[in-house]
């Protein structure tokens, strides 16, 4: 016979304002096996936990039900408290009467009645709980970082410094990411390359870091502490170990008509190319789609000029397999191509550019060698109009619903830098709200206005069209309540940022959950911001949401700390809520093994005592590898003889909850 204690939390007024907690405790006390029921202001507080511990000891409780917030919040807290009192932690059940009751209902009688039903279901379930002991698994002391931008580099460096081996997988031929494309950074105006490239070199040279550039993750299996990952190393057609990075091949390549991705297609590169001068590794790659040798079989100039003999046209993709204890997602972002915003003329007029394109036009290593020249005719623009919030903060099908966060500040930066180099340029910025929360951010924006005389117009642009060789920018000036038309030489669109396209497929591979915008979701928005809900998967940088460089770097460091914390452990406690087969019922049909996504079920031949003259018979029965099973329960439903059941969520437990609710 169980002795069950029920503890009803007020959560201050969060629960108590809508649910009559005394009535819930009172009702619970009348349920079968309940020997103790009480309520308290904050069950999760130290004194609340002590109350539970004392009650377990005093009343010799064999099961505990806490009526409180979501189990996703404090289940672990209360299990630990039970354990302190000498009770098996899995003899604790939570009735969620906050998120799923008090917060969504207004009527006290109704909410209280529902809370009582939820408590009753938990009481019914806990009576069928069994003490569970979690198994242990080894931790592979190696970390995988997916994405080699500033976020990935920073996480990798921090983890590597702590002494753990790290692999960076980057799909582009070099690490560096988007930050390598930036000119200066706000609000300090230090040069992006000057602060990034030393980090890239450090990552490339670190004894604990292995770079897999021009590579992609193909397949992930396993679980926290024990992931197995297949990585496709795409054929560069250049031998990394022989190449000296002299760049002669890239100069001699005759196919110099390929749009240069690094410069946002504003100039051309060869079919064999190094993305930019500071690339790490500084080894070229052949774009086989463009290469004459691959298209026609002729040419081969790069091979002829390479004194190191590094060119290898026969090189094939290579698949490597590696085990990891932790995986960090640092897949970064892209800027949308605002082609759907036809009224802003991005597709029609070459001098309407995105801010990332403008960044390249300002950059000394960019297509114009740092001279601001407009793409159409190479002339310096005298009137420039910046348009904010293009594709951000919208609700129509072409918009992103979120604020891209960095655009206000980089636009102020573009304005200041332009005015600094070309004081006779006139700059107008159409803005909706100027968002500058950050250290020295608003001061920076005010400098643009007060010191540099940038014309900020509150309003949005309705149409951009060409007339007499000028880009006519028609928009509203809301403070003047006027519609204005400015004649510009260039228009720069602060197009929305979006998660990198590869994030979605990686999310699926890793079962890391994503929000509706394809940003990875964190385990808890406030308290676990760098962890994915999937154990062992961590988040770094823009893949989790829009953020600037300092935020990215801090988050990258935080993710590294979490990884280090995991890799320092030798063993991990597993989830004891795993499947279990009753070998007396199992008929060895193999159905369960077929649906198991982890291959956790194997079959053994086992001898059983049977009545009759034979006395023993050998039968084939299922055995669950508890270290591999993740506890989804697919096998339990498939099993035709109900031999398979799930610990912690057994058939009887769930049925008892159903019965309690439907009473």
């Amino acid at each position: 016979m169980h002795k069950i204690g029920v503890f009803v939390c007020w959560c201050g007024s969060n629960i108590a304002a809508t649910v009559d907690v005394k009535a819930v405790a009172e009702a619970a006390s009348k349920e079968p096996c309940v020997v103790y029921a009480t309520d308290y202001q904050y069950m999760c507080s130290e004194s609340g936990q002590n109350l539970i511990i004392d009650a377990i000891k005093e009343h010799n409780l064999t099961g505990v039900v806490i009526c409180s917030c979501s189990p996703r919040m404090h289940e672990t807290t209360f299990r630990k408290a039970a354990q302190k009192a000498g009770l098996n932690p899995y003899m604790v059940e939570i009735a969620n009467i906050r998120e799923q009751c008090s917060w969504i209902h207004k009527d006290m009688a109704e909410a209280t009645a529902k809370a009582i039903v939820l408590a009753r279901a938990a009481i019914a379930k806990v009576q069928l709980n069994k003490p569970l002991i979690a198994g242990e698994s080894e931790v592979t002391k190696r970390c995988l970082v997916i994405g080699g931008g500033i976020a990935g580099i920073q996480t990798a460096l921090d983890v590597a410094e702590a002494g753990f081996p790290v692999d960076i997988v980057e799909k582009k031929p070099t690490i560096g990411g988007k930050m390598a494309q930036l000119d200066k950074t706000f609000p300090t105006l230090d040069c992006a390359a000057c602060i990034l490239t030393p980090r890239m070199v450090e990552a490339g040279a670190h004894e604990n870091i292995t770079l897999h550039t021009y590579s992609e993750v193909e397949e992930v299996s396993g679980f926290v502490g024990n992931f197995t990952v297949k990585i496709r190393k795409k054929a560069r057609k250049v031998k990394m170990d022989l190449c000296t990075g002299c760049g002669l091949c890239t100069e001699k390549c005759p196919m110099k008509k390929q749009p240069n991705e690094f410069n946002m297609g504003l100039d051309k590169r060869g079919a064999i190319y190094i993305p930019f001068a500071q690339a790490v590794p500084k080894v070229p790659v052949i774009d086989v789609e463009a290469c004459l040798k691959f298209k026609t079989g002729k040419c081969g100039i790069c091979s002829k000029v390479c004194t190191a003999g590094a060119i290898d046209y026969e090189q094939q993709d290579e698949i490597i397999e590696q085990k990891y204890g932790a995986i960090v997602l640092a897949t970064g972002f892209d800027q949308i191509k605002p082609t759907k915003f036809g009224e802003l003329g991005y597709s029609q007029y070459p001098d309407v550019v995105t801010s990332l394109e403008y960044e390249r036009l300002m950059n000394a290593a960019g297509p114009t060698k740092g001279h601001l020249l407009r793409p159409s005719d190479g002339k310096p623009p005298k009137e420039i109009v910046f348009v904010q919030c293009v594709g951000s903060r919208g609700q129509s099908c072409r918009d992103k619903s979120y604020c891209s966060k960095v655009c206000c500040m980089y636009t102020a930066k573009h304005a200041i830098l332009t005015k600094d180099h070309y004081p006779d340029t006139n700059i107008h910025v159409f803005y909706i709200d100027e968002r500058t929360p950050g250290k020295n951010f608003d001061e920076f924006y005010r400098r643009a206005v007060e010191q540099y005389g940038v014309d900020y117009i509150k309003g949005q642009v309705g149409k951009v069209y060409e007339e007499n060789g000028k880009l006519m920018v028609q928009g509203s000036d809301l403070l003047a309540n006027e519609q204005i038309t400015l004649a510009a030489d260039m228009v720069v669109l602060a197009a929305a940022i979006e998660p990198d396209k590869t994030a979605r497929s990686l999310g699926t591979m890793l079962t890391a959950s994503m929000d509706t915008n394809d940003f990875f979701t964190e385990a808890h928005a406030k308290l676990r911001p760098v962890e994915s809900p999937t154990a062992g998967v961590f988040l770094s940088g823009m893949c989790q949401g829009p953020k600037d460089i300092p935020e990215t770097v801090s988050q990258a460091g935080a993710a590294a700390v979490k990884v280090i914390g995991l890799l320092t452990k030798d063993k991990l406690l597993g989830n004891p809520c795993v499947a279990h087969s009753d070998e007396m019922l199992c008929n060895g049909c193999s159905q369960c093994a077929r649906v198991c996504p982890y291959g956790a079920i194997t079959y053994v031949d086992k001898e059983f005592r049977v009545p009759g003259p034979k006395r023993v018979e050998t039968r084939r029965v299922a055995v669950v590898n508890e270290a591999v099973c993740q506890g989804c329960g697919a096998c339990t439903v498939t099993c035709p003889s109900t031999a398979m059941d799930l610990k912690g969520f057994s058939n009887r437990q769930i049925m008892s909850e159903v019965d309690a609710i439907c009473k």
């Binding site: 915003f341 036809g342 009224e343 597709s347 029609q348 149409k463 069209y465 007339e467």
Partner: protein, 260 residues
């Protein structure tokens, strides 16, 4: 290929050319246009208010006739097309309007937006195909620089009209190319000519029409085509500062097909 055809009031009076050339060209392309019997005027503008039911009924009747005939419904006039497509969308997706309109109509089977409404241009693009059309051209309009004027009603709101990209359309330009002429793209091709406001404030209509024609002229257009009799009127009569010829798109189609 048989289609129900809704000409609309203006095509029977001031815009007979638009209608006549549409029919002749359709015949030349092997398309049968069956005029809806006893059709009524669509009202010219789409009544936007949720509680405007009676004003939508004439369109519902037309749509239901096409449904009963088992045909897709083709229109030529941009305004009729706009009204019919949007009312059809209401009947399919707006339960409030659907219920009330059907209460008035007392049909045997309630109408719920089953008819597919096509603009004549869509017929050319999606059914005939511009490549096929090109093959049927006997008098290619070589060397002619033609500017397509879309106006507002053909394209917006794009969610319902679904004719083309509302900001950077290409259907009429592709049509012009198929006839052998050179399309002229100009920024004001999807901006309003002034519409019905000409009755209330002619100066506004003049301003808008001149802007459109000026924009087309600046890009080197020698001729403007339109699908709307009201646009035609505004561009011709209110576009006072410019002397560009404006014709219906069906007229150059008939010319190219040699049935003018």
């Amino acid at each position: 290929m048989v289609y129900s055809y809704y000409p609309g009031c203006t095509l029977k009076t001031k815009a007979k050319d638009l209608d006549m050339y549409a029919r002749k060209s359709a015949e030349a392309l092997g398309i049968t246009l069956e005029e809806i019997p006893e059709w009524q005027c669509c009202g010219g503008v789409y009544p936007q208010a949720q509680d405007e039911i009676a004003t939508k009924l004439s369109s519902v009747r037309t749509l239901n006739s096409a449904k009963e005939a088992g045909n897709d419904l083709v229109t030529v006039c941009s305004a009729c097309h706009h009204v019919l497509k949007r009312v059809n969308d209401d009947m399919a997706n707006n339960e409030y309007i659907r219920t009330r309109a059907n209460n008035y109509m007392e049909l045997e089977e309630p109408y719920a937006g089953e008819t597919k409404v096509l603009h004549y241009l869509e017929l050319l693009r999606d059914v005939v195909g511009f490549d096929e059309l090109k093959k049927k051209v006997v008098n290619p309009l070589k060397g002619k620089k033609i500017a397509a004027y879309y106006g507002c009603l053909l394209l917006r709101p794009s969610g319902v009209m679904g004719l083309d990209d509302p900001e950077d359309p290409s259907i009429m330009e592709d049509f012009i190319k198929a006839l052998g002429a050179t399309p002229v793209v100009y920024p004001f091709r999807n901006e309003c000519c002034g519409g019905y406001v000409t009755l209330q404030d002619q100066s506004l209509a003049q301003k808008k029409s001149n802007k459109v024609l000026g924009s087309a002229e600046a890009q080197g257009a020698e001729m403007v085509i339109t699908a709307c009799p009201l646009c035609m009127y505004n561009l011709k009569n209110n576009g006072t500062e410019h002397d560009l010829p404006v014709v219906y798109f069906t007229e150059i189609l008939a010319e190219a097909l040699g049935v003018k």
